[in-house]
Amino acid sequence: MSDLATLLVQQSINGVYLGCLYVMVALGLTLIYGVMNQINFAHADFVTVGAFTAFFVATRFATKVLGLGDAAAYLVSIFIALGAGAVLGLLVNAVVFAPLRERGDELRPLIATIGISVLLENGQLALFGPIPFQFDSPFAKETIRLGRVFFTGQSVLVVVASMLAIGALYAFMKFTFTGKALRAVSQDRETAGLMGINPDFLIGLTIVIASAMAGMAGALIGPVLVLTPFAGATVIVKAFAIVIIGGFGNMEGTILAGILVGIIEAFTVQYLGSGLIDLVVFVLLLVMLVVRPTGLIAERREENV
């Protein structure tokens, strides 16, 4: 393989890996918007909670209490982070979102997400302190080389875990009754209610699924982040951009946009300079808003009557 071809393949691999990380963060956002028409500003903090959960499980509980090896401990930590995200989502829905939904106000839940974000950030700051934690995945130490192209075990894990999570979510939404009901609620909550579907239950379920995905994303992205209580904030702006580029509430669009942004970032670093990453991504976002405001893949939505 020529030098140029090697470089193109290597940066494409880097981009897909980065894109998968973004997709894992962005999917929860788009899911909540798709079903509830609501932006969750606390999503970054759910990711951080997942990262801290995975860190403490992988480095303390699973290794020292359960006696697992590093690799097994990290894998266990991903599932526990997913569970922690789900429990957090359940709690937040029960305590904050459900009571606010009952009042029928659209603005308050939005503001509540900002409150939850501040609460989670400062809670974690009080618990863990501000000094960054060094979260190293054992898979990141394994470098796989195919000729001159390389990637780490962590990249493989992230891509595989993303694909599995996306596949499971996709299958759930397309082929299960609950998934179909959830899509029905996202299209028309009132009519779905008339068909015997319980919209409140499904909205709660959406928050739990999205939070679980955020927790899992935190576990996967944790070994890349500088892990502080504010770590999630470094990826959330990019995740919002991806959700907009992909089409608000559109899963397929989010996946496509996430991978596209990852690849664009890798090639921006190569040919323009890493300092221009944000400029390029947000110019793309503006172009999309002007040229194709519905996103990469537009989803047909009927207006509620």
């Binding site: 030098d3 090697t6 501000p130 000094i131 390389f150 890349v224 670093v269 890493s274 300092g275």
Partner: protein, 388 residues
């Protein structure tokens, strides 16, 4: 209308008056130097604030013991300036208004320090800085700014010259965060290195929100033979960067040939976080906890007694500790207010602290570069002093 004060009202008024009198009397008796401390306590640079506070607490215990310097007590108020120009500006205004400090210590990040310097200059309150390297801080004509941290010029000049002369480096790629300090360090290195005959193959900057450095490492790997990689970033990102460069087999820690060079930004313990990727990393340090000077061994012992036997102080602990020692020294030399503190600082020459000897030049910059050492990370992640 005739209002007769009730006995209850009179009693309350008398009590308040008594409290006010007692308060003012105790103020008059208590000789205090108020020190405002602005540090990042939140955000990615918060490790500066946490470690800085440790150094200050230890120094305060020592200098305030007994009667205190010249009978004065140093009174400190900490504020979170978050390494952010905006937050630092708001914070320093509030501190000036409410705490009325005689002197301010801080900030660590150059952008924040540059933001508060003109405000303190206008208020005629000295700023003692121990962590910012942006050249402009002491090159803008401020009369109330003093810095005990080597500037980007001082560090970059030595790094650039030694890379060319001692390491025989002829090619370099500059890696730096997009801040005043990052740019200044990179510019200085480039100026000195290219003037000596070296060639800079690429300048790669990055924002503080960059998490994955693999694309950057890939780009460097594709540039061909690179001798040195001067790197200027905060610890968390530099750890990830070193690991990505090792995975791409660019640096010695990953089986490559390039040597990463670093500034004083990285604290003690960086090697343990970066792991084998940091092997061969050469960097400037201003505080070496293995130094045998009595001042350093005493500081190490006191630090361990207070914070735990397993703890080793970092340069951030040491800088903060030194800042308080210098304020105490100025008070011992007769300083009683902001103006006299400024005056005593401007005359300080060869004052020994843990990070070396401090001699302020006419611009308020420490000029004694005996404080700078070079160390190389070994395979077992220990330091080897470079005889440069």
């Amino acid at each position: 209308m005739n209002i007769r004060p009730s006995p209850r009202r009179v009693a309350v008024a008398l009590a308040l008056a008594a409290f006010a009198l007692i308060g003012s009397a105790s103020h008059a008796q208590e000789k205090v130097i108020r020190v405002g401390v602005l540090m990042p306590i939140s955000g990615p640079a918060s490790y500066f604030g946490v470690q800085g506070k440790q150094g200050i607490e230890l120094a305060l215990e020592q200098v305030n013991a007994g009667a205190g310097p010249a009978g004065y007590k140093l009174q400190v108020q900490y504020e979170d300036s978050a390494c952010s120009p905006l937050q630092a500006t708001n914070t320093v205004k509030r501190v000036l208004e409410q705490f009325k400090p005689h002197i301010v210590i801080g900030e660590e990040c150059s952008d924040a320090s540059l933001a508060i310097a003109p405000i303190l200059e206008q208020a005629k309150v000295p700023l003692l800085n121990a962590g910012s390297s942006a050249v402009k801080l002491t090159e803008s004509g401020y009369k109330y700014v003093f810095r005990i941290f080597p500037t980007a010029d001082q560090q970059g000049t030595m790094l650039g010259r030694n890379a060319f002369e001692k390491l025989g480096a002829r090619t370099a790629v500059l890696l730096y965060e997009k801040t005043n300090a990052g740019v200044d360090n990179a510019d200085t290195f480039e100026k000195v290195f290219t003037a000596a005959g070296g060639k800079v193959l690429a300048r790669i900057d990055f924002g503080r929100d960059v998490n994955d450095f693999t694309p950057i490492a890939t780009r460097i790997a594709a540039l061909g033979k690179v001798d040195v990689l001067p790197t200027f970033g905060l610890e968390g990102q530099t750890v990830r960067l070193a690991q990505a460069l090792a995975q791409a087999r660019v640096v010695r820690g990953g089986g490559g040939t390039a040597i990463q060079l670093g500034s004083i930004w990285l604290p003690w313990g960086f090697e343990q976080k970066a792991g084998p990727a940091s092997e061969g990393y050469i960097r400037v340090v201003q505080f070496d906890p293995t130094e045998k000077r009595k001042m350093v061994t005493d500081f190490n012992a006191a630090f361990r007694a207070k914070f735990g036997a397993a703890e080793t102080p970092t340069h951030i602990n040491a800088h903060a500790y030194d800042s308080i020692l210098l304020v105490a020294e100025a008070v011992r030399r007769g300083a009683t207010d902001s103006e006299s503190l400024r005056d005593r600082f401007s005359k300080m020459q060869g004052v020994e602290v843990t990070t070396g000897r401090i001699s302020f030049d006419a611009k308020g910059q420490t000029s004694d570069l005996s404080v700078i050492h070079f160390v190389e990370t070994q395979k077992d992640l220990s330091w080897k002093g470079m005889a440069w």
